[in-house]
Structure formats: structure tokens, C-alpha cells
């Protein structure tokens, strides 16, 4: 019998669903090196069982060359999760209005241009993200910060050192600094981002600008943990960033 919405909410434990509640149906695929044939199938089954997948059924075991086998398997996972024990920050962020509205709000309530300095720091040469936020054409039809009447957007490009971005931020009296990190191999982005926060803490004279980190592997949680005011992942629209900066500056102004 289909359960009502309230009954669903009361459930604490959940597991994957195939066609019967609590059947734990999962599909896994992976490559096993150095083994083919029946031995590969058995090895896959054992692995599945170790992973807590009961009754594993190897639906396909394809030899892909170089003595390797690609496995697709189905089974029932014995584990479940207790939703009540999980914490997520579901801060429902207010949907950002468009460029014209934000420009209007800045003009009316802040009465000055917002200055934003952005760059890819460290060795990173992937400017696709920072360009999407800052350059005129923006992203997915949402215009970049350069296009805003009341935002002065300075895109320093790629491979900028933390010192260089600090100097520029000081020079331009930046309200916000956007730092992009695309490459994350060996967690290099964590090091680069932390060093930047430290540098700003030690050497920024006057009121620090908002520090915002962005990149495909960046989340708000990671960024805030590292000392940033906000973090953005892939698919972020320029208007979201513009609106966030505006709101924060408005808060600061109202506090004074």
C-alpha cells in the first residue's frame, strides 16, 4: 500500500528502492584488473558481498583488454541510513533577482559602485569559472559582473598569486574578492585557499573585503571552514554572487 507523506517523514531508516520498499536494490560497476572469465565473476561477487551487497548478480562481465574485466552487477545492499542522524545545512537561499533589479538596489540603497576583484590563484590556469562569473556575457544567459552598471568588476585572470590579488584588492578598495580554484588534485586548492585567507588576515589594512571561493569542487561548507565568507560550486550564476555581495554590504552598512 502506498505510504502517506506523514508516514514517510516518520521513517528513520532508509535503503535503496528497486521495486519493493526496503529491497535495497543497487547497481554497481567497476573494472577488475588482472583477472578475466569465471574467476573475475567470482571475485566480483566476493567484493560485492564485502561491500554489503547481498545476492550479487553479475549481469555482465566483459573482457576489455589488457587482462581486465568490466563488471556490472546488481544486488541488495544490507546497509541502511538513519535520516534523523544526518545534519545538513539546508539554508534555503533567497532566489537572486536579475541584473537590472540588483543594479537598482545597489544604486538606491548603497549609493555607490561595488568593487569586485577576481582571479584564479596559484598555478591554476582554468579561467572558465571566474570568466563565467565576471565577464560580460556571464553564464547561461545570466550576465557577468562586468556588465552591471553599479559593479566595477576586475578580472585578473589566471595564475595570480595571493600577494598580487591582495595588492590589487587594496589598490581598488575591493568590497569583495572572488577566488577561483578548478584543479583539486592532491587537494592543492585547500592549501592555496587557506594561505590566501591567512594572508588577508595578516596583511590587509582596513576592513577586509568579502572573501568568496568558487570552483567545481568548492562548496559553501568547505569555503566557510577555510575562512571564506561564502563558497560556490559549478553552475553558479553571476547574479547569485552579485546579490550575495550586495546583501552583505547592505547588512554592513546598516550596522554602522
Amino acid at each position: 500500500m502506498p505510504k502517506t507523506k506523514s508516514e514517510t517523514k516518520k521513517r528513520k531508516y532508509i535503503k535503496p528502492y528497486g521495486d519493493t520498499i526496503n529491497d535495497g536494490a543497487v547497481q554497481l560497476s567497476f573494472t577488475l584488473p588482472g583477472v578475466t572469465g569465471e574467476l573475475a565473476v567470482e571475485a566480483a561477487k566476493r567484493l560485492a558481498q564485502k561491500m554489503g551487497v547481498d545476492d550479487p548478480y553479475i549481469s555482465s562481465a566483459t573482457e576489455i583488454g589488457s587482462d581486465m574485466t568490466f563488471i556490472v552487477l546488481y544486488g541488495r545492499i544490507i546497509h541502511d541510513v538513519d535520516l534523523t542522524r544526518i545534519e545538513v545545512s539546508e539554508e534555503e537561499e533567497e532566489k537572486a533577482p536579475g541584473m537590472k533589479a540588483i543594479d537598482g538596489m545597489i544604486e538606491e540603497n548603497l549609493k555607490r559602485k561595488i568593487v569586485v576583484v577576481g582571479a584564479c590563484i596559484g598555478n591554476d590556469a582554468h579561467t572558465v569559472g571566474i570568466d563565467a562569473i565576471m565577464n560580460m556575457k556571464g553564464y547561461a544567459g545570466d550576465y557577468g559582473l562586468e556588465r552591471y552598471k553599479n559593479i566595477e568588476a576586475i578580472n585578473m585572470g589566471a595564475q595570480v598569486t595571493a600577494e598580487e590579488i591582495l595588492e590589487r584588492a587594496l589598490k581598488e578598495k575591493a568590497d569583495a574578492v572572488l577566488v577561483s580554484q578548478v584543479v583539486t588534485q592532491k587537494d592543492i586548492h585547500i592549501g592555496n585557499l587557506s594561505k590566501l585567507v591567512d594572508l588577508f588576515d595578516e596583511r590587509y589594512e582596513g576592513e577586509k573585503p568579502l572573501l568568496i571561493a568558487g570552483g567545481p569542487r568548492i562548496t559553501d561548507k568547505i569555503a566557510v571552514e577555510l575562512g571564506f565568507d561564502r563558497g560556490y560550486g559549478g553552475g553558479t550564476l553571476p547574479s547569485q554572487v552579485a546579490y550575495f555581495v550586495y546583501k552583505k554590504l547592505l547588512d554592513k552598512a546598516e550596522e554602522k
Partner: protein, 522 residues
């Protein structure tokens, strides 16, 4: 090729004429200037290789020393010839340029002092001194060309689109394992993605490398290692395998030399990519791309251009014409460097939002249009990336649509879509699934292109005509103001690049009129 799209031949010809005039306007600057990288590549062509104890390439050391002596605008080759003669170095092979470089590097030979004190040799004498080195370099390249031709005859490649996949572990030895496996799975071209930011290094790293970020460093030794591996894999598979790398960045001419010496088959070599997407100085890129493409032409290496990048952030429906306009421009720069159409892997991509009604028809229209406008070029078709999310099952389906579009329009180089795009660099199983799909399409639809015609006045035809018209208009605008100004205004990818900005500007210089010497460019 009879047009299935009823494309306006006159309009296509006009596009070519405008692109020619656009390139012409820059040609004067290009041939009257040189760069640090061009000069370093001249040394490499003459057989110079190696690094000093700190890892600085000897090519950089010599060029920097000649620059510091205020003589680089006469061309590094001339100074080297003068120095060799002054030291009575027996020119019997490239060991000499190597020991000369070693001497300069250790400070035994003071270029500044020497050049000031020594009368420069007359050009004839310089040519004589360098002749064995120059000939040796050219011979080495010719040998590779002959080798490739012999191999391709004995190990023929597929007639349909060539299947191109990437490896990018950061460790060349790991890459070899992945590459061999990819060949076994049916790949025809293996591209080794470079370590991130290599394009912004003003030197080429040396030796086999085992660490990189988001890719593997392009070094001559890495080229050699992978070439050997692919030759072995090709023998086993019964077909020649193309090795691909990327020339883009501050060292285009040097990478072109290394690729020529190690028998690479394709190189990413775009006349504008570095400017727009890596913020490399405009004039530096134009001079570098010309010399590097000239080397590519001698080495029979196919160039690939990077038009897919225009669609990475711009809307693929709205900005399709920028891709075509860029292809026309890249074609003209290629012609000026001596590349025949069969070596022009001009780029285009399948990047529209899969949710768009009739989006597939537009993709097919554009792919067919490219095919017809560049009939003899091994055009490079690039897979969907922008709208690929982490849903790998859906990604796999979108990639299959791409495969179908490629077969329907008779594409030449098919860069495989991979279901884990934007998640991680390909795992061996991902590559297997991707190749399985591409081979399925290539075989199951082998001859479909010759069976297809399009509805006269239909959606496909109208879309192609529209894109051509907009590209034509854009080329007119670019011609009016010149390419340098067009780039400064952000006409390409909406990214503004001023001609005096960007990395590597300091490495561009005007050749000393009537006195610049470059034995390879005579």
C-alpha cells in the same frame, strides 16, 4: 562536394576572402617579428636539448644570454654561428651546439663579452658553419615523415572517423598503460592532456615526468616514451595509432619541434586560443603560431584548432557562427604557414542543451555545414561537455547522439564523449564504455552519410544557412576593424584582450631589418 544543404557557394568564397584579408593584415607583423620561443625552437631544430643542473633548458639559457647581450633581434642562430667559429668548434654533429650551450650555461663562455668583441660573420659564412646542424634537423624530421608514411601503409587506419581519446594521469608510465588499453579497446588517436598551467610556462620541461596536475607534462622524452608504446600497440592491433599533444601556450614553436622529432601525428595549434583563453599576449601568439605551424607542415603533423572553447560558456545555439568564423581565420593562418587542407583539423563541437526541441537537427546542420565548407580537412568534432551533469547514464545517451550526428555527417576526427565528463579524468572502464558506444555507431551506421539527403528548405538546411550568414557578417565586422581590435573588443567568446597585455609580451621583438638571421626561414 555537392552541397546537401544548398549552401551559397559565393557566400562561402566571400568568407574565405575576408578571412584571407584578415590574416594578410597581420602577416607583415608576423614575418617582421620573432619571439623568444621561436629563437629557442631554432636552437632545438639544430639539435640542442638538455637542461642545466637546476633544470633550466639550455635553449632558454642561450636565448636569455643572447638577449642580455642585446643581440637577440639579429636571431640567435647567427650569434651561435659566430661563437662556434670563434671557438673553432668542429661542426660535425649536434654535440657541438650542446657543448657550446654547456659552456655558456657554466659561464665559461661569456656571450656578452664575446659578442661585443667578435665581428659577426657574413651570412654566407654563418650558413656554412650551421649547415650540418640545419640539415641534420631537417633530415631528422624527414625521416619521421617517411617512417609515418611507411607505417600507415603497412598498418592502415580506419576509413571512418578516427576515434580520439585522452589519457591524463600525470605519470607518463601510467599514461602508457591506459593508452595501450585504449588502443586495445579500439582507439585510433591517443591525446595526452598536459599538466594544468603548462601553457603558461615560458620553457619546456625536460625528461620523463611522473607528477602533474590534471594532466601530464609535455616533454620530448614523454613524447618518445608514448610514441614507442603506441607503435607497439599499433603493431598488435594492426593499425597505426596517432599520438596527439598540445602546442598551445608560450612555447608553441618548441613543442612543434619536439613533436616533429618524435613523430607525433597531431598537435593542438590554434591561432587565437592562447590569446583568448589563456591571456597570452596577442602578438606573441600570432608570431608563435606561424612559426610552429610552419614546422608542423614540414613534419606532416595535423593541427587541431580549439573552437569548442567558444561554446564552453557561450550559448551553443546563439554563438555557433563564432565557431565557423574562427575556423575560416584559422584556415587562412594555416595556409600562410604552408599547411595543406589535409593537415587542417579545424574544430567544431556538439554542445547544445539536450532539452532543446529539434536541437539534434541543429547539431546535424552545423556538422554537415562544416563538412561541406572544409571538404578536404580532417575536421575535429568535439563532444558534449557543457550540459553533461553527473548523471552518467544520461551522459552516455547524449554521447551516443553525438556519435550518431558524427556518422550522419561523415566526420573525420571524432573526439569521444565520455560518461564521466566533469566528474574525473577517464578511468579505464569509462573509456571502455565510451569506445564501445563509438564503435557501435561507426560500424552499425558505417555508410549512412552517403545515404542521407536533407529536405529542401527544411529545418536542417535553414539552420546551416543561418549560421553561415552570421559567420559571414561577423567576418565582415572583423575585417573592418582588424583582428587585433576585434580581440580587444571581445568579439570572440566575449573576452576582451588588449594587444599590449597578457603573458609573454616581453618575449616579442622586431627582427633587425636586413640583418636578422634564421637558417630555417630562408
Amino acid at each position: 562536394m555537392k552541397s546537401k544543404l544548398d549552401l551559397d557557394r559565393k557566400m562561402v568564397d566571400e568568407c574565405r576572402l575576408m578571412a584571407e584579408r584578415i590574416a594578410d593584415r597581420l602577416h607583415g607583423f608576423i614575418v617582421s617579428h620573432s619571439t623568444d620561443s621561436v629563437e629557442r625552437s631554432v636552437l632545438r631544430l639544430m639539435g640542442l636539448d638538455g637542461v642545466d643542473r637546476k633544470g633550466t633548458p639550455l635553449a632558454n639559457i642561450i636565448v636569455d644570454a643572447v638577449k642580455a647581450a642585446g643581440k637577440l633581434n639579429y636571431g640567435v642562430a647567427g650569434v651561435v654561428a659566430d661563437l662556434m667559429a670563434a671557438f673553432d668548434v668542429d661542426v660535425d654533429g649536434d654535440g657541438d651546439i650542446q657543448s657550446l650551450a654547456g659552456g655558456i650555461s657554466k659561464g665559461d663562455i661569456k656571450v656578452k663579452g664575446k659578442v661585443k668583441g667578435v665581428e659577426p660573420l657574413p651570412p654566407e659564412k654563418r650558413r656554412e658553419v650551421l649547415r650540418p646542424l640545419v640539415e641534420s634537423g631537417l633530415q631528422r624530421i624527414k625521416k619521421r615523415v617517411d617512417e609515418r608514411n611507411a607505417l600507415k601503409e603497412r598498418l592502415p587506419m580506419d576509413s571512418g572517423p578516427l576515434l580520439y581519446v585522452i589519457v591524463a594521469t600525470g605519470n607518463i608510465h601510467e599514461d602508457v598503460i591506459q593508452a595501450k588499453s585504449a588502443v586495445e579497446m579500439g582507439a585510433d588517436c591517443i591525446a595526452v592532456i598536459r599538466s594544468t598551467a603548462q601553457s603558461l610556462l615560458d620553457y619546456v620541461p625536460y625528461g620523463a615526468t611522473t607528477e602533474g596536475y590534471g594532466g601530464t607534462y609535455a616533454t620530448q622524452e614523454n613524447f618518445r616514451i608514448m610514441r614507442e608504446a603506441l607503435d607497439g600497440a599499433g603493431e598488435k592491433a594492426g593499425r597505426y595509432i596517432y599520438l596527439v599533444n598540445y602546442a598551445s601556450g608560450l612555447c608553441m614553436p618548441e613543442i612543434a619541434v619536439m613533436a616533429a622529432f618524435e613523430r607525433l601525428d597531431m598537435l593542438l595549434n590554434d591561432s587565437m586560443y592562447g590569446i583568448i583563453f589563456r591571456n597570452i599576449n596577442t602578438m606573441r601568439t600570432f608570431v608563435d603560431q606561424h612559426f610552429s605551424r610552419t614546422i608542423n607542415a614540414h613534419a606532416d603533423i595535423i593541427i587541431n584548432t580549439g573552437e569548442d572553447n567558444y561554446l564552453t560558456t557561450a550559448d551553443a545555439v546563439e554563438q555557433a557562427h563564432t565557431v565557423l568564423a574562427s575556423d575560416f581565420i584559422n584556415e587562412q593562418f594555416a595556409i600562410k604557414a604552408g599547411l595543406p587542407p589535409r593537415l587542417m583539423g579545424l574544430g567544431h563541437a556538439f554542445e547544445m542543451d539536450p532539452e532543446i526541441e529539434d536541437g539534434f537537427l541543429m547539431e546535424v546542420a552545423q556538422a554537415q555545414m562544416m563538412r561541406e565548407i572544409f571538404p578536404d580537412a580532417p575536421i575535429k568534432y568535439m563532444p558534449p561537455t557543457k550540459h553533461i551533469t553527473g548523471n552518467v547514464f544520461r551522459a552516455h545517451l547524449v554521447d551516443m547522439m553525438f556519435n550518431v550526428a558524427s556518422m550522419m555527417t561523415g566526420q573525420s576526427i571524432h573526439l569521444l564523449g565520455i560518461l564521466t565528463e566533469a566528474i574525473h579524468t577517464p578511468h579505464v572502464g569509462d573509456r571502455f564504455l565510451s569506445l564501445q558506444g563509438a564503435r557501435y555507431a561507426r560500424n552499425n551506421m558505417r555508410n549512412i552519410a552517403s545515404e542521407i539527403s536533407f529536405e529542401r528548405g527544411g529545418r536542417v538546411e535553414m539552420r546551416a544557412k543561418e549560421v553561415l550568414k552570421r559567420a559571414h557578417d561577423m567576418l565582415g565586422e572583423v575585417e573592418d576593424i582588424g583582428l587585433v581590435e576585434a580581440l580587444a573588443r571581445g568579439m570572440f567568446a566575449d573576452i576582451k584582450r588588449a594587444p599590449d597585455e597578457g603573458k609573454g609580451a616581453a618575449g616579442v621583438f622586431e627582427k633587425a631589418k636586413g640583418e636578422y638571421f634564421n637558417p630555417f626561414f630562408e
